[in-house]
Symmetry: C2
Subunit: 391 residues, 2 copies
DNA sequence: TCCAATTTGTCAAGGACATAGACAAATTGC
DNA sequence: GCAATTTGTCTATGTCCTTGACAAATTGGA
């Protein structure tokens, strides 16, 4: 017998959504132009814009002039009306940033990861957020959302991190819940490679395509898949866990099988082992190895070529399964042009329709960017989205 | 300066959609109950139901009784108000069916494929449709949609069939356009394995999961992927073309590479060749080979085991990329329990999180079912969908 | 300098769609 | 036969949107 509060809000919501989207798409714009673009009446636009201005979402910024007729007041998004945090948790560094409704970075920082892991990381996160909020001229309670990128396989439903070899203690707690309770802000937890893919989709190489894969090659290997314009997570959140691809070794070998056949064959450890196997003696890190390659050392060239060959086969397999238009590579190995050029050479020889290959536009900031992209998208949805009630 | 016709239909559309969905979900139902379930007022429901009844979408079917209070008139979907056709084009047979708005099959038939291909197939299709319409007690012009499943790779945008080895002449014409023009009905063309996956999603093993793959193993091999509940097509419509998986041979071998490395290794031709290689002499078809296996012939067992081993590795690769909860197998080879049991044995030895394996519920009718599922879904969308205008 | 043309934005009237609550009609059970 | 219950319509009211008239503001040319 309770009376519902909002009775016919749906029409106004749709109108509001149309107005907001138009302003987002056009930047500074007058009410008359909004009316023309949306097809809604001038009257409706005036009403909606008044409400949005009262609530702080839009602000008047200037006037038109130079054309015949009365000057129009132009409006634009009040970007500061929605601020969100993106955090990229790595095994050695934590990067974090605050962005506004338009995706502008208003504060950014980076610290070393607390090696004790677990709850100590939650403390680091909240300290970082308070510090960033101060730098952005606001306070942490004004922030609407936190997106946290982490290595490991995450349960899509609960956000629980099931497998995370490189960070101690975060698979023991429900990171999303604990962190969200601590800060009193909604928290989204997502795999870091998935976030990197989202970053490329948002403002990187994936901006004009809706079917691509981000392949991270470094100490570990992973993949983020954008298909039909959205992220693919799979049934258990393990989509893109190409460490387990049966390529580069015997799939039935119990050793490689638990560690991941493909990761054992192309990770940085394997690459250095291969280099030593070819007789190389001048590299203890991947950076050394590429330096040796550029100095013309044949054992380095052989190690890189063999890695490229295996990665090309993996991309062929991914291409057969997913048919991406583009594969973006990243990570400490995958962002090296020397390797990527070799991959480009092998690929047409092992698959009839090779996808384009590009190196990540954002380097090691890709996951941070992806977190911001998700945060902006989510804020728009929460604030202006039109949700039909489920029956 | 043209005045738009419909001014504020959106609220009514949403209400109508809610009513239709409620009736779909509940079967025979009274207006009072619809009001309770949707949360809309009795008045609104009466108005909407009146309109829907006038337009033929709903029909009164009876009355409640036995409970205190006035008896209610119950309504249900008038299933015959929307009829659509599903056609499964195979290299030897064409299967076709008409289904109604509820997905009931009201007419079904099967003929041999005209070996001349091309336009002769279009003639076959239109004859089939006229015949089915007659059997269903209607005429072809009353049909709202045709879904055509075909082998080959289809361009997702145009519906053009780019590669179709087993059917002559259909890659030379724009099948969708020609067929649609001939019948004056909208036509959807889709890859047959993708349709089989949709069929399993609609009423088969995929009904309770939104991440699975349908793997077809027969003369050729193919895969249909359902991820996040929707079909994955890829950038060029070639997602799931696992013929080209670099498994079962050297990915860089120019021969296997053009024919498809994986298909060359596990198709029915390869399986029989393998059987002969192991010394088998009693099988010229796959059916013979399985008969030999069931008679205890060791060369048949070896051929099947080797095929199962390769398929298990392929499923491991697919699992690493897509993380499906379930893999459904079909096709003349893939629907044999003897093979699938062997696959089930190999799988846990080559991947740490093996997906469940099931044999297709519909056998060779899976694509036909999938076409009906798509047709029903599409009819619902067209007839009752709520579309927000794009700005 | 003044006026026509143009554009912006508000006002007022009217229509579609929703809700709430009163009430008539129909049915069950005592 | 009557109270209780349920269905479905009627009436009144409110929100949101549209249309068309009109005032306000600006440009450019006579």
């Amino acid at each position: 017998m309770t009376s519902s509060v909002a009775q016919t809000p749906i029409a106004r919501k749709i109108s509001t959504n149309a107005v907001i989207r138009t302003v987002f798409a056009n930047g500074s714009i007058s009410r008359a132009d909004i009316a023309k673009l949306t097809g809604l009446s001038k009257q409706t636009i005036s009403d909606v814009v008044r409400d949005l201005e009262d609530d702080g979402w839009l602000k008047p910024v200037g006037q038109t002039d130079g054309r015949p007729g009365r000057n129009a007041i132009t409006y634009e998004i009040n970007a500061r009306a929605g601020l969100a945090v993106s955090i990229d948790l790595g095994s050695t560094k934590i990067a974090a940033a605050i962005c506004d409704l338009l995706g502008n970075v208003v504060a950014e920082t980076k610290v070393s990861t607390d090696p004790r892991g677990g709850m100590h990381l939650v403390n680091q996160f909240s300290d970082l957020i308070v510090e960033l909020a101060f730098a952005a001229g606001t306070t942490a309670d004004k922030l609407r959302l936190v997106v946290l990128g982490s290595p490991g396989v995450l349960d899509p439903a609960t956000g629980h991190i099931n497998v995370a070899p490189s960070i101690p203690g975060i698979d023991a707690i429900n990171l999303r819940q604990v962190f969200s309770d601590r800060m009193a802000i909604p928290v989204i937890v997502e795999n870091d490679v998935n976030l990197a893919a989202q970053g490329e989709r948002w403002r990187g190489h994936g901006i004009e395509t809706s079917n691509f894969a981000f392949v991270a090659l470094g100490t570990g290997v992973g993949m983020g898949i954008i298909a039909n314009g959205t992220l693919l997570r799979g049934a258990r959140g393990a989509a893109g866990e190409i460490a387990y691809l049966p390529i580069g070794g015997d799939a039935f070998d119990p050793g490689g099988f638990t560690l991941g056949t493909f990761e054992s064959a192309v990770g940085s450890v394997a690459m250095l082992r291969r280099y030593v196997g070819f007789g190389g003696r001048n590299a203890s890190t991947v950076a050394d190895l590429f330096a040796a390659f550029n100095a013309g050392e044949t054992s380095a060239a052989a190690a890189i070529e063999e890695t490229a060959r295996l990665v090309a086969v993996a991309i062929a397999a991914i291409g057969a399964a997913l048919d991406p238009e583009l594969v973006i590579t990243g990570g400490s190995i995958g962002s090296r042009p020397e390797l990527v050029n070799a991959i480009r050479g092998f690929l047409p020889r092992c698959t009839p329709y090779p996808p384009r290959i590009e190196i990540s536009r954002f380097g090691n900031r890709a996951a941070l960017m992806g977190g911001m992209g998700i945060a902006v998208e989510r804020m728009h949805d929460d604030l202006f989205g039109v949700k039909l009630r489920e029956v």
